[in-house]
């Protein structure tokens, strides 16, 4: 039967209901601040929101949004190619291009559409896409739609990438390499300097998804490629407005003039309504703040290091280096679920990640830090994790 394939998911959802575990799709009843809310009736510290700079609650962004709604209305009611290109969209594209120091930018209604649409369009039949094995779902969806030959390289393994480029021979020139700046689940940073070198050596093109690194890495906050000093090797940068910029939407910027033609070939751009002007306006304001206030980035990293060091000192299985995404790995399913619940009961909301969304067979309690977290909030999060050890849900150094 058509719907039989959903039985496994139905059983999982039933299990979650029986356990009263609200880890997936928890309803936020109230937002108190960028880092605090009432979720499923409980007041919690928000430590799983990707709100890296805390700008979702910035009064300047809210005011920009309000003013745009008054001026333009609540929506565009059409796609960018039809009636949905407003002056706000054009201005945001120009500001993004200027921010990245390139000539061309496209805005999308969501980050998913930006990544999926760009990957689906840039390479086609006869071309090759080499993507990191731990790529985001939007990348996998896009490359599947592209019609290109799709080959994975081992996660951030540049020796493996080099092997695969070598195997392609002349076809390397028709290849798009795809990497992310910061990988969303474990918070690790791609080795972009080495990837850029390989890209140049083999004459391929490089697309970097800076969804989790825009506003987080680089002297000007442009992302991992800026931090690695290899922006000139990046052909296409994609990203999202829904994390450090606190809104929703996505973008692709490029030094290649052809991006203006690519724009008219991306289905996820052509056949969907454009972003509502209020969101575009808040994104523009947020981008300005990101650019003008590097102290937000410093505060974010202070918090990230504090959480990382605190959890590591407890003996928990965190990633190899500090990052605004700090994931604690669990091999035991029951322990991971119980741990999520205990953190929530103790007023800390984090993300529970289960395979296959996690990059291995492990379960993750994924924390994302914000510049808006107070030191006291970070310490309360660490305390809540200490409570997991006290409850026997995790053994130090063997999570």
């Amino acid at each position: 039967m058509l719907l039989d394939k959903f039985k496994e998911m139905a059983a999982f959802q039933a299990e979650l209901r029986d356990r009263r575990l609200k880890a997936f799709g928890a309803v936020t009843d109230e937002i108190v601040s960028a880092t605090e809310g009432v979720v499923e009736g409980r007041r919690v510290i928000l430590a799983g929101t990707n709100n890296y700079l805390g700008l979702s609650a910035d009064p300047r962004c809210i005011e920009a949004s309000r003013a745009a709604a008054s001026r333009w209305g609540t929506g565009t009611t059409g796609s960018r190619l039809a009636n949905g290109s407003f002056a706000e969209h054009q201005a945001l594209e120009a500001e993004l291009a200027a921010f990245y120091g390139v000539g061309h930018a496209i805005c999308f209604s969501t980050g998913y559409a930006a990544t999926m649409g760009t990957c689906a369009t840039l390479a086609g039949p006869g071309d090759v896409i080499l993507l990191d094995a731990d790529s985001h779902s939007s990348i996998y969806s896009g490359v599947k739609l592209s019609g290109a030959e799709v080959i994975r390289y081992r996660h951030s393994d540049t020796a493996d990438l080099a092997k695969r480029l070598r195997r392609l021979g002349d076809r390397a020139a028709n290849t798009l390499i795809v990497a992310e700046g910061i990988y969303s689940m474990l918070g690790d940073i791609a080795p972009l300097a080495e990837i850029a070198e390989l890209k140049r050596e083999y004459g391929a093109m490089l697309l970097v998804d800076e969804a989790h690194s825009l506003g987080v890495l680089g002297e000007r906050g442009r992302g991992a490629a800026e931090a690695a000093g290899v922006e000139d090797a990046v052909d296409f940068t994609v990203g999202t407005f829904s994390k450090s910029l606190g809104g929703i939407g996505g973008f692709c910027v490029s030094p290649h003039a052809e991006l203006e033609d690519v724009r008219y070939c991306i289905r996820a751009y052509i056949f969907t309504a454009s972003s509502t002007p209020s969101v575009v306006a808040s994104t523009r304001r947020a981008l300005q703040i990101l650019r003008d206030e590097p102290q937000l980035r410093e505060r974010l990293w202070d918090n990230a290091r504090r959480l990382y060091d605190g959890l590591k000192a407890l003996g928990l299985a965190v990633g190899p280096t500090p990052s605004p995404v700090v994931a604690v790995e669990f091999s035991d399913r029951e322990a991971a679920m119980a741990a999520w619940q205990q953190l929530f009961d103790n007023g800390v909301y984090v993300n529970l990640v289960v395979p296959p969304a996690s990059p291995s067979t492990n379960y993750l309690l994924r924390n994302s830090m914000s510049a808006a977290h107070s030191t006291e909030q970070v310490d309360r999060i660490i305390d809540a994790y200490r409570g997991l050890i006290d409850a026997g849900l995790v053994t130090p150094d063997a999570a």
């Binding site: 030959e149 799709v150 080959i151 994975r152 392609l168 296959p356 291995s360």
Partner: protein, 80 residues
């Protein structure tokens, strides 16, 4: 150049370490249906094959691969 039979022999040996169900592995064995490989395990197997034959196996071929024979055939095709 790897012929079909040698690909098959390599695969049967490689898949033994994933043979939790202790089934008889031959060319008709289903990778998911019989061996119960998870998506992660399928990718692990693919990587080991790639290393062994020094080839890259495109993801595009995977929807057509159900059995050990299907996989052996694809390896042979990719390793002329």
């Amino acid at each position: 150049m790897a012929d079909y039979q040698s690909c098959l022999a390599f695969l049967c040996e490689l898949l033994q370490k994933y043979n939790r169900k202790r089934v008889m592995i031959n060319e008709n064995t289903g990778l998911v249906a019989d061996l119960g490989l998870s998506s992660l395990e399928v990718m692990e197997v693919i990587e080991q094959i790639e290393d062994h034959y020094d080839i890259s196996i495109p993801l595009n071929i995977l929807p057509d691969v159900n059995t050990v024979a299907d996989l052996a055939q694809k390896i042979r095709d990719l390793n002329p």
